[in-house]
Symmetry: D2
């Protein structure tokens, strides 16, 4: 993680100031407010603002669904009910803002989620830092043979090939950056005029780091996390999602628990899958052949039920 | 305004609790936090949460547009620059949540703004309060003759007609509500079963009050206010927009000032309108006939320039 | 259903014109294009435009996920794969536009779906038709005792109570409408000026009909339909959703089939629910007491598995 | 522009098929349907589907704002009225879908517009083409001295510096691509396993081309074009916006004309700017000093009025 001294000082200063507020506050989240959580080799995510807590979800649900008592045990039950039945609007009543630093190829995946507010560091105005993501040895994965979209986890490249890949990634990023700097001519060689920033940036590789402020409501954040903290997500974005899940746990613990139980840990059964579960429970010997499922669906179903196909 | 004693007590209690926070706080907005601002005969709007301040706009702009010093005078200039040039994303970094009570026909206009989060009191679950909007004598306007969409401001109905209109509005609302109550059979007359709430509600008139939590970012709020605090908006929603503008002034005074100067007080000149202004400034005698504008556009332009057509 | 003769003529005229296009066309949907499908007592839904077909989904998926052959059997498999794994963006590539006439209390539920484009008939400009929804005898349901939000299906009110409810609904709607007309003074009684339309409309009851054009992409339409064609949706909006599902079947039959199998007919198992299914399949005797589920969740799970609790 | 023979054949085939439809068709747009319009050195934009026409805007406005006659002259007036008064929802009733190929740094600007549907070519699944944007000699601009965000138009780099910049851009892109290919090991050198695609892509430079399907409604398209066809937009995205404006002209000529007159060719006067125009028109000698405007705002205003400051 690469914060300048000025940034570190600003963070320390912000963390040192406390003012009284009538708004709901969440001490467990205040504890880490502004603190960067380091990720990958130069990245981080940090919570820089938030609004609302578990009670804001309950309050919004109660205006919609009528009154009730206000014990914490009932709040938990109501939040679990909302999560289970996908009553999503009460979760939109909480908002959080992150400051994130990540490689550009990660930012390109991330930005596809359209329901957030974003202000990104602009390479039209400013000069990008000289920082590139170089995977650690465990992350240097080959293409998966089963999954067209992913890598083979747990079997990283090794030896000569790993060494050469890392060398190429580093050398290409550094050479491109050096040439980017030369084109910009920020050091004002008077014999030339320098290329516009908005053009020179095209010479950078996609493991360069960028950063942005990213603000989103809790419902849409959970949707983002359900996709990006999932095992199918690319490792380099998943580490961000996992760190953010921990901030959600501090912020809205009841919502986090319900989300873990009903969304992250669950499985969706199709009409056909449900039919097979019922037949199995009735003692019938169901096989792929008599299941009406395709071989692929059958395999997926058996895997989720913890059975051999 | 009709708050129950329980609601008043809850507000007093919330206002009595202050907790320390590391987040940005805005004392002028904290002053009125949770307090209902009364509107129309039974409505209100109140700020129940917020996130960010003018500095959050500046901070987001600086991550996009590069660094600078941090004097307040420069913050003001930057915010004005952003507003003037419609760089809207930094204003999305602030968020506010309102609790609003308003007549259903007002809610129907309001909900057309899709970029907010909403939780409305549900008449499928709960029973609507016995409260109807009856216009005050000044609001009892006839149809405008010029404007197909609006009322004639400043010339309310009077005398016999006004009296009869008010009587009809009141009697119809009350009779419909009484029959709504009869259909619900909440008093449990054992000789009948009562109609479902989701059906009985259809008997209510559209001046019944409803309420919701409504959460929105500052950019989209300003867009909403530019339309609804405008002279063309219906009076009954405009009073809400005007009250909310005052809360914006407390919350983000620099943004409010820039918004007043560049958006609310300004005017858009078309290509043709700009051409005419240039010709007038050059001393040419321009008339509608030689202007290339339609009579209607000409009238609108002359009005905005403060000239007789 | 209440179409004027002018509207019927316009529909016949539009249906009579065919022009050649290079765009994808769907003959089964063209067959019913512009035709109103009658719903409730005066409502309808009709498809007035569309863009794309099942192949547009496939084409969008292939730009994202790489090339393949183009047999129809493979299109079906790809669409089912996308639906199963919630790869939603390819379904956003199709768009459809409906013209809908429905009671205002139905419109109020409908508009909560924010991802559509809407143009509604405006009662600020125009005068609403004299048409009210009066439920048929089978729809006159009492409040559900189990479900705070719904009605008891299948046990409508009868006899005296039903008769009185229908009479009240009809009389209140008619009286309010008559007074609305009186206030408007469209017949130009010269002794008075008439109330502005934007005000007079507040006297109408919520079973009045309104209408709008409603345009949405296929992904968001399916999300809407999964909520509103569901058994928990209010009957009066469900009939619209069911009619629209039939138009989806004509339009994109492969997508409709996948949607029916994986979304409408399926069930979501939580982490705890999945655990119980696994234990049951392993032959264990699981009861609510040893299940770690709340009684309510247990009941819901057993119901979805088709077992007695 | 780089279409494979297979793609060219597919386009020819699609263009050769015409089917009858009851939907509105636009012959001028059909003429260029599917045809790629070449942009930059390897990019293109092409219209691949559309829905609605100028009449759909009118129809939606009429459901909102009441009936009227249907002469074309009145359609034009209504569309101009809607555009002038920013009644935007009727323009949302038309939809268009483009297939675009552009450099990745252009795609990164483009994707910030969140109100569109997108399916992008995925470098997790597929291998990017070996194509890089290398600016033409006229586009090789230095940084602007006035404008922190832009380039100095009209004064491109020349001679030795231009030659070296072009050489660096080309060599760096080619070397990085060659190493990308080596890492992928698609030629199956059996002595090594190859790096996962999702990782290898990070070695590419941002002038590589990507492509996507991009679908948007007419209102949001015009907003995009007003920003990206503007003189402040980066040249490399502006050429796309300008080509798309031409497709809009074919598609909805009345809307295009109104957009040109009221949005592209117009100017927004602030409260202070309007005041100065009024004073000038009244014959007063206004200077920056007595204007209440900042020097910068004064300069901007005088420039838009065509006067020397």
């Amino acid at each position: 993680m690469s914060l300048t001294d000025a940034q570190k000082e600003e963070i320390a200063q912000l963390r040192g100031i406390e003012t009284p507020t009538r708004r709901a506050t969440v001490p467990a989240l205040e504890e880490i407010l502004y603190e960067p959580l380091p990720l990958l080799d130069h990245g981080f995510v940090r919570v820089v603002d938030y609004m609302g807590d578990d009670s804001a979800v309950v309050q919004a649900a109660r205006v919609s669904y009528g009154k009730g008592t206000k014990k914490v045990s009932e709040d938990r039950g109501l939040i679990r009910y909302l999560m289970r039945h996908r009553h999503t609007t009460p979760f939109e009543m909480c908002e959080i803002k992150y400051h994130v630093k990540m490689p550009i190829f990660v930012a390109r995946q991330w930005i596809r989620h359209r329901t957030a507010n974003v202000n990104e560091y602009s390479a039209r105005y400013s000069i990008l830092d000289k920082e590139f993501y170089i995977p650690g040895p465990d992350a240097l994965a080959p293409q998966s043979k089963q999954n067209h979209q992913g890598r083979a986890e747990g079997e990283p490249l090794t030896g000569e090939e790993a060494h050469k890949v890392l060398t190429l990634l580093r050398e290409d990023a550094e050479r491109c950056y050096a040439n980017y700097e030369w084109m910009l001519n920020e050091e004002q060689d008077p014999s030339r005029r320098g290329l516009a920033r908005e053009l020179a940036r095209m010479n950078l590789t996609m493991n360069c780091y960028t950063q942005w402020y990213w603000k989103i409501d809790l419902h849409n954040l959970l949707h983002f996390l359900s996709l990006r903290a999932d095992g199918h997500a690319q490792y380099e974005i998943r580490v961000y999602a996992e760190a953010m899940l921990e901030t959600v746990k501090r912020w809205v613990p009841l919502t986090h628990e319900a989300f873990s139980d009903y969304r992250m840990g669950g499985v969706h059964l199709s009409r056909g899958g449900l039919d097979i579960v019922r037949r199995l429970l009735a003692g019938e010997a169901v096989t792929q052949e008599n299941s009406a499922l395709s071989p692929r669906e059958w395999r997926e179903l058996m895997a989720s039920l913890g059975r051999e196909g």
